[in-house]
Each structure stands twice: as C-alpha cells, then as structure tokens.
Amino acid sequence: MNLKKIAAEIQAWFDDRFGLSAIFKFLREKEVPQHRHSIWYYTGSTILLLFGIQVITGFMLVFYYKPTLEEANKSIARIMTEAPLGWIIRSVHFWSASFMIAIVFIHLFSIWIAKSYRKPREATWMSGVFLLLISLVFGFTGYLLPWDDLSLSATKVGTDIPRSIPVVGIWITKLLRGGEDVTGDTLTRFFGFHVCILPVFIFILLAFHIYFIQKQGMSLPLAFENKGKKVRSLPFWPNFVYREMIVWLVLVGILVTVAIFLPPSLDKAADLMAPAPEGIKPEWYFLFLFQVLKIFPAKILFINGDTVAVLMIAVAFVLFFFLPFIDNKPTERKGKIITVVAYVVIVFAVAMTVWSLL
C-alpha cells in the first residue's frame, strides 16, 4: 500500500465522520472579486490576525498576572522585568489591541461608505456592531489591569458614566464595579470580564459574523452592481490567501517593531485614596467620548448635562446599529446622505480627539 492510498483512506475516514469535504470544496471554489476597492477586503482578515495575536499573548500574560489589589501592579512589573521576554509580550499585547481597534474602525467605515450592509447583509452588520462593542469593552477592561493611577481614574470615570442613565444606570455601574465604588473587587471583576466572559461572546459572534460573510459572498461596490459589469475575481485558495499573507507579514513586522521601540509604561500602583492625577486620559479610541463629557455643561435646562450626553450617545448608537434598516434602499442606489453622515462622524471624532490632546 503506498502513502497516497493511506492518505486517501485517512481522509475518507475523517470525511465519513465529519463531512469536511464540503468545507474544503467551498474554500476551493470561493472567489474574491478584484477591483479598485478590493483593498478593503483585507481589513477583515487583518483584524482576525490581530485578534489571534491577542489571544495568544493573552494566554501568556495570564500565566504571570495576578488580578488582586495588592498584586496586580507588582505582577505586571514582574512580567516587564523578570519574565523572559515578558516586556515584549506585554508590549505586543498592548499594541496589537490598538492596531486591532484602529483597523476595526477602518473596516467599519469602509463598509459604511460602500453600503455593504444592505440587503442581504443586515445581520452581518449587526453582528459586527456587537463585535465592535465587545472589542471596546475588551480595551476598557484591559486598561485597568495594570492598576496604576491613570487606569484607576479612567475606570472610575468610565464606570460612572452609565450612572446618569435613568433607572437602570446605577445597576450597570454597580455591576461593572462590583459595588458602589471602584475597589480591588472591580479589578478582579474586570479581569473576569477580560479573560473569561468577553472571550466567550466574541468567539460566538465571530463565528456568526464569518458564517454570514461566507454565506453571502463578498459584497461588490455600487459601481459594479449598477452597470452590471462583469467583475474579475481571484480564487480564494490559494491566490487570495497568499496575498493576505503578504499583508499579514508586513503588519506583524510593523507591530513587532513598534512594540519593541515603544513598550507601554507602568506607573506606581494606584492608591484608592489619592487624588486623581493631572492629565488623565483614556485609551485613544475613547478620547472623543472623553472630550464630549468634558465640554458638556453641568446642567442643560434642568437636566443633568451628563444624562443628556449619555442619552444622545445611546440614541446615536441605536441608529448606528439599525443602519441597514434605516438605509434600506435597493443595492444600486447611492445613498449620498448616508455617505455624508459617515464623513461627518469621522470628522467629528477626529476633531474631538485632537482637541482632547491639546
């Protein structure tokens, strides 16, 4: 019996049990359209790559990290100084998170502007919005884990924001904090969110998100849909995958370089009784929110300013989530207003972010 035959038999054995050949067949036949805008197709897989890096470096960090009031800051100092190459691992985890969020935003706006969320891709968009939300919560919970002055104050502010939502707000704050105030319990709880609860949800949502994309195929730019032009396409396997791998390699190169030259700092352990340090700032992707809260007046008419701000943000978010149903025009319509709204949002967020840095 030669090797080929054995291999074929093994394959048949697995196929009988798991029916994998259907998936392989699908991947062999999958095509990716090629056109002026196909560069945006790469954002999805780069997010997956960075997410994978987060998972692996996260597994590694958890071997040393201790999520308690007394030990958290010390254990990170230990990772940075004692664990072999620990500083690089932490730095990659830190930077890969930022890269991932940045590309998530690019991915999001490319889909928004191209209107790829339209029928039949509404569920893909909505699962994506949840993925965005979870990614941001990942960032927010991870920020506290080093337990230094900055992260403590940022967490106090962040977890206090929901409080201004009428009725349910106070319970959200308590749920996040594990009590009335931010304490050591909050740290332990955030660790639980970060390494246990959120990962479960992100994997489930990711599975749905990717399944929807495979089910519906890649969305085409409007120009092609309109003219009914024939689109060139590239086989997914192996041509497109090879191209993706080039992008991945370049990205990993940049990531590791940045991680080595700009490792995140670690301040002294947070003191619950100390006044907030000057210049507290959240992670860059929350800066626009931070600035909005800072400039909002304390009172608008008779209502608490923050309540107004939070409710406005909540409404904006709901609109954003239901975008495919608000803009439910047939695929060939351009939807100029929606495009303009996308650019306005981008300009607003960038302007607020820059302002907060001044």
């Binding site: 104050s153 106090k156 009590g179 009784m273 006044p275 907030a276 507290i280 800072k294 304390a298 923050d306």
Partner: protein
C-alpha cells in the same frame, strides 16, 4: 375544546399554566444569579478618628481619612472649625484635591472646581461636594452621614 361560557379553550389554559410555570422556574434560577452579582452596599455609617491626629492642623488646610473605600477630607477653617467632605467629585467620581493657596477643591479628571465650602463653581460638576457631619466626642472625632445617630 372550549366550554360554552369560557373565555379560553382548554389548550390555552394548559399552555398558560405551563408557560407560567416555566417562567416561575426561570425566575427562581435567575434570582440567585442577579442577587449574587451585586454585592451589598458598603458605605460606612460613621468613622471614629482620634482627635490627636487632626489637632495640629493649621487653618485652611486639609487632612485625609478613609471613608470606606473612598477618601474623605477633614478641613480646618480659618476660624478653627472643622468640616468633613467626601473627597469624590460629583461629576464622574474622581478623587479631588484641596488647593490651599486658591482656597478651592480641584478635580483633575475634567477640570472641575469647587469653592472652599465644596460648592461647585466651575467645570462639569453638577452638585456640591458631599459634606459629612463632624463631631467631637472626648478624645475622638466622629464623622458620620446625615441622619445617622
């Protein structure tokens, strides 16, 4: 099947019964879960501090004390009276400092200002700082919440 004067059929009745029972069952599982994740409230009713620790304070100065897991501040007025504050910003919960030269409390998180009596005078804070009642009892200072014996 439906009896003559009945409002619903036997099937509806049984479905309602089953549904109600399942709902009650789910609630009985959910209740302990919800109960468990919200820890009991922990703010102290009062704290007792030795007076000797605060006796030597100069006028227009403050000193820390722990108010549960939050910082508290005892402030000595120019006339020698004592005030007590919860040193937590009423905007979004950051800890504040007292700047003695300016006679103001300051919150660095979003640049919130309070005057020397804790009144919010600038920036986003919507309310004055929370004041506590401070009493002298022999060798001790007692700091307590409003309405506590």
């Amino acid at each position: 099947m439906k009896l003559k004067h009945s409002l619903f059929s036997r099937r509806q009745f049984l479905n309602g019964l089953l549904g109600g029972w399942l709902g009650a069952l789910a609630a009985s599982f959910l209740y302990p879960v919800v109960k468990f994740i919200f820890p009991p409230y922990r703010e102290p009713d009062k704290v007792i501090l030795p007076f000797s620790d605060y006796e030597d304070m100069g006028p227009n100065s403050v000193r820390n004390f722990p108010w549960g897991s939050k910082p508290g501040l005892i402030k000595k007025e120019d006339d020698g009276a004592y005030l007590a504050f919860v040193a937590v910003c009423t905007h979004l919960d950051c800890n504040v400092v007292y700047l003695a030269e300016q006679k103001k409390f300051f919150c660095a998180c979003h640049e919130g200002w309070y005057d020397e009596n804790g009144l919010n005078i600038g920036g986003p804070p919507p309310r004055p700082l929370r004041q506590l009642i401070i009493e002298r009892e022999g060798e001790n200072i007692i700091v307590k919440r409003e309405g506590v014996e």
